[in-house]
């Protein structure tokens, strides 16, 4: 060793020299790389061991999250292995460091210290460029391309190749979104391995051999995967491009912001890249504890909704003529304040808000409107669910959520030491679990990163996944999962007698030993089911977690944007809890009657019990309440909105709020982990909390939600709640309500890609969405006289849809599945039905 590091220079404090080794752990081996000894856990690949000491070996096919393959041969190094006496014996030829496992006493010489390794690497780069078009100047990857970069760092300055290059017509579509330029491809198989291993969608494959080997799709079978965009991101050259970004920009013109996706409760870290005020692309941001390096296509490509022509940028009030007219902020606030003053108002908070926004809505309701009538659940919900959230979910964040802003941490840590049954299940817990039972939850559609983690758990740790659902979905297959067949509406029965069915017994046994129960928000729709799930978890000693669909729901729960809970899960009925909050809020007293939930707020507005509504980005259709339209029509409505909507169409005042890219804040993911995000674009658009603060001021209240810092200071001052959790109030287990007389029970959930408004303006993404179909059992198909792809008509109380049928092999007889909100099939609007309702099914067109 020639380098010495004095303790003063930040090195180890040692008695002699400065080169003391970190002590070796029991499961570690010592290898020497370029003369530097390093201890690494057994099983570590040489290329990873080198990274530990800052030695970068060039590579293409290697990817730390994919299984090693050793195909590109770029990472060749010289290796010597100790013989019996311990003397290193050089191996006859250089070895691929990405497939070779470090072993005790191994001596590695990389390009830095071995002329042979260096020449080998130069040789590989030269070969890779033999058939490469060298069209860097017009390639999207130019400027951030591993091939370009490593050609500079580890390649020859010039090429000796003077023969004919292989060419292909370029590009070809492998899906509606993804284009492949085969001539740029270096056949590293990262994309095909991703598709096969990580996503479980092996529809991107290699075809042909030798010099004609190429990435390909099956005939007539596009690369349809919710995760396809990740292949674009990990392609080490510009061979795979997304149609949405192709030829739009050069990487060096982009400004990147670290952000968090607003589309679901998975909580993906993303990178938002913009140029001169326009977001051009989003990518997965490496967040090992959450989304690793991946995200889903919705998170990657669905961002143009915010720049549609119907975007609202200026405040508006409704004139006497019934039309909205643009006004200045002071006028809009004055009109809103006047309308709300002295009214009996309720607050509906959408599921897209940040935790800070939700906090402001909650505080506004209590301190300005003097009511607990606030609810973030813009979807079917129940009182049983509210109890469940209070008892088992709120305040059960992941303990290690540190590193985030202190204040925001308070949001989830409120009652981290809480007494609830499910304390902070994390992604890591899913990965290590022996068994996971899904109830009313389809991870691939409803929380894609949970799906990826469960698939990884299945592949790498043998986790057994069970699903209480009406049929085996593609997602369940990819998790190696087992179906516990259950018609919607019957989940509670299944859970109460889990061991009663064949596969249920397997689930019951598997859960006993380190199991996790994951319930989806849909489960609220079955009376008694959430209670039964909690009961099952308690009986089995299994852990319990709730996975909502929308990104803002968990944060809103923690922030107290729900009728019976104040921030941190403090029960509104608990005087001590109210006192704590009142002290921080510097408000005399807080309302103590638990508030109405969204449905009751709507009902009260419809019958005139409430006369005003404050609505923060809610699509009334999502509530699946027939009286929603009447309620909005009747009440004085203040709408905080991004774009024109069914609410702004009838609102009295419309206050524009900032789209995701224009604001900073935090989401709380399903784990209860706080996920702060930065503002990517600067503009004078304001986040909801700021607009609410202005409205409060106008009404003579100072609620101090002007800035994130103010809100954070209050979170901090509040600290965790250490008192009793809210007691159960609702009586669950009312029998299944059926609103129709049909022969079939409706099963439904929203597919990840569908007709949701937050996917507007991205036709390439829409092209990869699953087809709108109705799934029925084989027996039902026979009975209906339909074959695969024949149309069926599903009729509910509010109307009918006619869509192609797909025969799902193990669908529970008598159940029909439809996507909740896809093109040509909006279950709430078109059928007027919800999951568990009875509907009629007939052969297409016969209704």
């Amino acid at each position: 060793m020639t380098t010495t590091t004095s303790p003063g220079a930040g090195g180890n404090s040692v008695s002699e020299g400065g080169d003391a080794q970190v002590p070796k752990g029991p499961n570690e081996v010592t290898v020497t790389i370029d003369g530097v000894p390093v201890n690494v856990p057994k099983g570590t690949l040489v290329i990873r061991a080198a990274e530990r000491i800052g030695i970068e070996i060039p590579r293409f096919c290697d990817h730390p999250l994919l299984d090693p393959i050793g195909a590109c041969r770029q990472c060749l190094v010289d290796v010597a292995l100790p013989d019996k006496e311990g003397t290193p014996r050089p191996m006859p030829k250089p070895q691929a460091s990405c497939t070779m496992v470090a072993s005790e006493g191994m001596v590695v010489n990389t390009q830095n210290t071995s002329a042979v390794a260096d020449k080998a690497q130069h040789g590989i780069i030269e070969f890779l460029l033999v058939n490469h078009p060298l069209d860097c100047p017009v390639c999207d990857k130019g400027g951030e391309c591993p091939l370009q970069n490593q050609s500079m760092s580890n390649g020859r300055p010039d090429s000796r190749y003077e023969d004919v290059k292989r060419t292909y017509p370029k590009p070809i579509n492998v899906s509606a979104q993804i284009l492949l330029d085969r001539d740029r491809c270096i056949l590293c198989t990262r994309c095909t391995r991703f598709a096969d291993e990580i996503a479980g969608d092996p529809y991107l494959v290699l075809a042909e051999r030798g010099g004609l080997q190429q990435v390909s799709i099956y005939e007539e079978k596009p690369f349809d995967s919710y995760f396809s965009g990740n292949t674009v991101q990990i392609c080490p050259v510009g061979a795979l491009t997304g149609a949405a970004y192709r030829f739009r920009s050069r990487p060096f013109d982009l400004v990147s912001t670290s952000s968090v996706c607003e589309h679901c409760a998975s909580g993906c870290g993303i990178r938002t890249d913009h140029r001169r005020g326009v977001v051009l692309r989003r990518m997965g941001l490496n967040t090992p504890e959450v989304n690793a390096e991946w995200n889903c296509d919705k998170g990657r490509w669905a961002f143009t909704y915010a720049t549609q022509p119907d975007r609202i940028e200026l405040p508006m009030v409704r004139g006497d003529d019934g039309d909205l007219r643009v006004v200045g902020w002071p006028e809009a606030l004055a009109v809103a304040a006047k309308g709300l003053a002295g009214s009996r108002a309720g607050v509906l908070v959408g599921g897209r808000v940040s935790a800070e926004d939700a906090y402001a809505y909650g505080k506004f309701a209590r301190t300005v409107l003097g009511t607990n009538d606030v609810d973030f659940r813009a979807r079917p919900h129940t009182a049983e669910e509210a109890d469940f959230l209070a008892r088992h979910v709120v305040g059960t964040g992941v303990p290690e959520a540190a590193g985030f802003s202190e204040g925001a941490r308070g949001v989830s840590e409120g009652a981290a030491e809480g007494t609830g049954g499910g304390t902070g299940v994390s992604y890591a817990d899913l990965e290590q679990a022996k068994a996971v039972l899904l109830v009313g939850f389809e991870p691939e559609d409803e929380s894609p990163i949970v799906f990826l983690r469960l698939r990884k758990a299945f592949r790498k740790h043998g986790t057994r996944v069970f699903s209480v659902a009406p049929f085996t979905s593609r997602g369940l297959k990819k998790m190696g999962g087992t179906l516990v067949p259950t018609a919607p509406g019957h989940e509670a029965e299944t859970l109460r007698a889990l061991a009663g069915s064949k596969t249920g017994r397997l689930a019951d046994e598997a859960l006993t030993d380190g199991g996790i129960v994951l319930v989806g928000e849909r489960l609220a729709q079955t009376p008694g089911a959430l209670t039964a799930a909690a009961g099952l978890a308690a009986a089995k000693g299994a852990r319990l977690a709730w996975v909502p669909r929308r990104a803002g729901e968990r944060g809103a729960l923690e922030a107290g944007a729900i009728g019976h809970l104040l921030p941190g899960g403090r029960p509104v009925t608990d005087p001590a809890a109210r006192a704590e909050v009142a002290a921080v809020w510097e408000s005399g007293s807080l309302p103590q009657t638990p508030g109405r939930d969204s449905a009751s707020i709507i009902a009260a507005a419809a019958d005139g019990t409430l006369d005003a509504l404050v609505v923060g980005g809610v699509d009334p259709l999502d509530l699946a309440l027939p009286e929603a339209a009447a309620a909005l029509e009747r009440a004085f409505v203040v709408s905080f909105e991004l774009r024109e909507s069914a609410v702004t169409a009838v609102a009295d005042v419309v206050l524009p709020v900032a789209p995701h890219a224009h604001k900073a804040g935090s989401f709380v993911d399903w784990e209860g982990r706080v996920r702060p995000f930065e503002r990517a674009l600067s503009s004078n658009a304001v986040s909801d909390y700021r607009a609410i603060d202005m409205l409060a001021s106008e009404m003579g209240h100072f609620i101090e939600t002007r800035t994130q810092a103010e809100i954070q200071a209050q979170f901090e001052a509040l600290g965790p709640w250490s008192g009793q959790r809210a007691a159960a109030t609702a009586t669950p287990a009312t029998p299944v309500v059926s609103t129709g007389a049909g022969e079939f029970v409706l099963a439904t959930w929203a597919t990840l890609l569908d007709a949701g408004r937050m996917q507007d303006g991205e036709p390439f993404l829409a092209g990869t969405a699953p087809r709108t179909v109705a799934r029925v059992s084989p027996r039902a198909a026979t009975w209906l006289g339909v074959g695969e792809d024949d149309t069926v008509t599903v009729t509910g109380p509010g109307g009918a849809v006619t869509v192609p049928a797909v025969i799902a092999g193990d669908m529970v007889d008598g159940v029909v599945w439809l996507p909740t909100n896809s093109p040509g099939c909006s279950v709430y609007r078109d059928l007027g039905a919800r999951a568990g309702d009875h509907v009629n099914v007939t052969k297409g067109g016969l209704a």
Partner: protein
């Protein structure tokens, strides 16, 4: 060395209907299996180990050792996979053997299966040879009907069965791990080692992959004993093997002889170089083994002596070229072969052979450039030992050995087409009307 020729596997190829069970039984067929079944499996393995037979598929790894390196039995399946993909240019021993005497392979496979605890063996056959496929299928059917395969073979209690699988015709599928992937229904591309097939082979179970001739020879070893086998060949390359002479010899064909025989002796047996010509160069073991010249005629053809002479024994595919042959043209043909057969998995082989082929085509057409020869050598250096499997290494052998012995012919490629220096018609053993040369285009 006692005898020049030692016909064992070839002992009755000329008998009518040599491929029938009855013929085989008349020639001691299935005696060895009966004997093996009276022994314990480990005794059979010990006998094969004791014979010191080295694999006949090219690399020469001791067969008994390979079997004993398999992971110990754990109650799950274990597999024997016979490598019958024979696709190496020049190599033509396994296919005639299976054609003329398939039962010797079936018997050997049954014995080998018994020794390693395998109940289901596979023969992975090169797909193009449909007639051999039929012979193997009917041999297996005959053996099964006669009770040599199936459940409780010959009342021993052992289950031994064979599945014959026809590949789709890829040279790379002869590489043992690519073969296993192909057999499992995947693309024929090699796997990373470790894990080796002995630990995780077919369907991730312990597997031994052995060449046709290696397995067929096991029958003889059991019939006559390890000492009989060792009495032939050299100390480190025991036994006999089929030597396949092709090209410019008077009588091309198969010569089963002890290992250690010399090329000079074999040429004598084959009637010498064709009339009026003299030897220019030859391959000892197929196109993947560096070419040798007249100077090496007395090298004993055993594994170690040929290696010491700078080449490899390989599959004893002795391709003979006389003075009419352009080395550049021959190497260009071989290079086209490797480029065409490269599986494409790894960069140096896929791109390297693509480049080599173009340079060789130019040299053949007299359109080489000044630094082509050095460039070829440097490219080969960047492929050899850098590729994922031995196919890439093999692709460099004809080029580097060709340049080593005949550099001036490569240099002539800078200005004079090979066909001018060595008109193709002079090399042909038959009338050629149209000298069809490589187009130089990739026509995979």
């Amino acid at each position: 060395m006692t005898d020049t020729l030692t016909p064992v596997l070839t002992r009755f190829w000329d008998v009518p209907e040599s491929w029938k069970l009855a013929t085989y039984e008349r020639h001691d067929g299935y005696r060895a299996l009966r004997k093996a079944l009276t022994m314990k499996p480990e005794e059979v393995l010990a006998e094969v180990k004791d014979s010191s037979i080295r694999g006949r598929g090219g690399a020469g790894f001791p067969t008994g050792l390979k079997w004993s390196f398999m992971s110990p039995p754990d109650g799950g399946p274990r597999y024997l996979v016979v490598n019958a993909d024979e696709s190496e240019p020049g190599t033509c021993k396994d296919i005639p053997l299976m054609m003329a005497n398939p039962h010797e392979l079936v018997e050997g496979a049954a014995i080998a299966s018994y020794a390693i605890g395998c109940e289901k063996a596979f023969i992975y056959l090169r797909g193009e040879v449909v007639h051999v496929y039929r012979r193997l299928l009917s041999a297996v059917a005959e053996a099964r009907a006669a009770g040599y395969l199936g459940r409780d073979v010959l009342g021993s209690g052992a289950t031994l069965d064979i599945v014959v699988h026809a590949g789709a015709g890829a040279y790379e599928c002869g590489e043992e791990t690519a073969l296993l992937d192909s057999l499992e229904g995947r693309r024929g591309q090699p796997r990373s080692k470790p894990p080796f097939p002995g630990a995780q082979g077919l369907y991730a179970r312990p597997t031994s992959v052995n060449n046709v001739e290696s397995i067929a020879s096991v029958a003889g070893i059991l019939r006559h004993g390890a000492d009989w086998f060792k009495s032939m060949g050299t100390e480190k390359s025991t036994g006999f093997g089929i030597f396949s002479l092709s090209g410019h010899v008077a009588h091309p064909g198969q010569f089963e002889a002890p290992l250690g025989i010399t090329m000079r002796e074999l040429l004598d047996l084959a009637g010498g170089i064709r009339q009026g010509h003299r030897l220019k160069f030859w391959t000892p073991g197929g196109s993947s083994t560096p070419i040798l010249t007249e100077d090496y005629l007395d090298v004993p053809l055993d594994f170690d002596s040929v290696a010491a002479a700078g080449s490899m024994l390989g599959t004893r595919a002795l391709q003979v070229f006389d003075e009419t042959v352009s080395v550049v043209r021959a190497v260009a043909r071989w290079t086209e072969f490797y480029q065409h057969e490269s599986c494409g998995k790894c960069t140096p082989c896929r791109e390297g052979t693509y480049w080599l082929r173009q340079v060789m085509t130019r040299l053949e057409h007299g359109k080489g450039s000044q630094d082509d020869v050095d460039k070829l050598l440097d490219m080969c250096e960047n492929i050899l030992g850098r590729a994922f499997c031995a196919l890439g290494d093999a692709a460099t052998m004809p080029v580097t050995s060709g340049i080593k012995h005949f550099r001036e012919e490569f240099e002539a490629g800078m200005h004079t087409p090979a066909d001018v220096l060595f008109p193709l018609a002079n090399s042909a053993l038959f009338e050629v009307s149209d000298t069809k040369e490589s187009s130089g285009m990739v026509t995979t």
